[in-house]
């Protein structure tokens, strides 16, 4: 399978100051193995886009703990008290985004849209510094697309072409992030020959590299 990547080669795809999208929802569907590799690379000044801050010793929480993250874009950080401390101490900027808006901003990037109009956040501090547009007399916030240099996702099964399926609630942000980054690395629990063409969630054209479990 020509997209296979040795875990030790991930550092070739990392650089200081880059933006990385990390799949998963409270670490369910987060590729921990790839997080470990990013920790070991010790790449600095990362902007991380993820649903949440993970836990102190799980998911993107590990990168925060390792002081590699200068900016976190997420919908909540409540389960990682260390992230809150880093934020209060101004060691890390945190941009809090409503979860549905975050999903649409990521999707917009992958789908070539400049942004979307959402009613979520109207009349709250989320509205600050944003354009408010009226459509049919209802107010919407213009939320613009979110881009990343790299997305790391967790696949359940990957076929020989790089097509991906997920399992259960590990799917969450993974498919939309795979489309929104310049490069996508999938950690895959299993490699299979073929997948059902009706059930493939992420087409192979979005998967640049695959790191196999157990390697």
């Amino acid at each position: 399978m020509h997209k296979l990547l040795d875990i030790s080669s991930i550092k070739e795809h990392l650089f200081d100051g880059m933006t990385i999208m990390v799949g998963g929802f409270m670490c369910v569907g987060t590729p921990e193995v790839l997080i470990e590799a990013i920790m070991q690379s010790n790449v600095q000044d990362l902007t991380i886009i993820c649903n949440d801050a993970g836990f102190e010793n799980r998911g993107v929480g590990k990168l925060i703990k390792n002081n590699q993250v200068s900016h976190l874009i997420a919908s909540h950080i409540g389960l990682n008290p260390y992230a809150g401390k880093q934020m209060s101490a101004e060691h890390m900027t945190v941009t809090l985004v409503p979860q549905g808006t975050l999903a649409e901003q990521i999707r917009a990037q992958g789908h070539g849209l400049g942004g979307i109009l959402t009613p979520t956040g109207v009349g709250t501090i989320v509205e600050e510094n944003k354009e408010v547009l009226k459509v049919n007399n209802k107010r919407y916030l213009l939320e613009t697309a979110l881009h990343a240099d790299l997305a790391i996702i967790e696949a359940y099964q990957t076929d020989q072409y790089g097509n991906v399926i997920y399992t259960k609630t590990t799917r969450n942000f993974n498919p939309i992030m795979a489309m929104a980054a310049d490069k996508t690395i999938a950690f895959s629990r299993e490699m299979v020959d073929t997948l059902d063409p009706e059930c493939i969630i992420t087409p192979h054209i979005f998967i640049d590299y695959v790191v196999k479990a157990g390697l």
């Binding site: 929802f25 979860q99 549905g100 808006t101 009613p119 609630t169 799917r171 969450n172 993974n174």
Partner: protein, 219 residues
Amino acid sequence: MDRQEMKTFIAKRVAKELTNGDVVNLGIGLPTLVANYIPDAMTIYLQSENGLIGLGPKPESTNSDPDISNAGGEPVTLKPGGMYFDSALSFGIIRGGHVDVTVLGSLQVDETGSLANWIIPGKMVPGMGGAMDLVTGAKKVIIAMTHTNKGKPKILKKCTLPLTAKYQVDMVITEMGVMTVDNTGIHLVEYNPEFSLEQIQAATDATLLINNPKKMVVN
């Protein structure tokens, strides 16, 4: 009532608001308890914003699958007829008005139906998660919470904390009563007879509109 009894009482009363066939999203904490009081004969489809419809009961601890959790990160199961999807579709369902009822806790609610439940500046900054989308998108927003916080009212004339959303709350259910919100204000439509109407108003900053309230009954 002690705190646990209060929570059970509130959750039972919320359950009575659900209608057969409803798509319902239950927030973390007290709202999650509502699932325990849905009558067996009623079919409710629980949606969880991390990506499923058909949330089933917690698995036996020996049988827990780390790949399937609810939005609180707790292990759950999938009922027959349920399905998985990604976050974009999940919030499409929520924002698009396809959730009939969302039940959330709150720090504050006010008589205009605004609510605040995601940040206490300088103190607690967990983030809004999916709450802003849920209260903006769901057809009916029910706030399930204790009436006061350490004796201080949580139902206010005007929220003082940063808002989760403006004018979105339809109903507030506490251990003291059931309140509905419309553009005339907040109405006490049911009261817990353990409290007098005066006591309930005294525990409330907002002016309760009271017109023949019923007694709040749960089983």
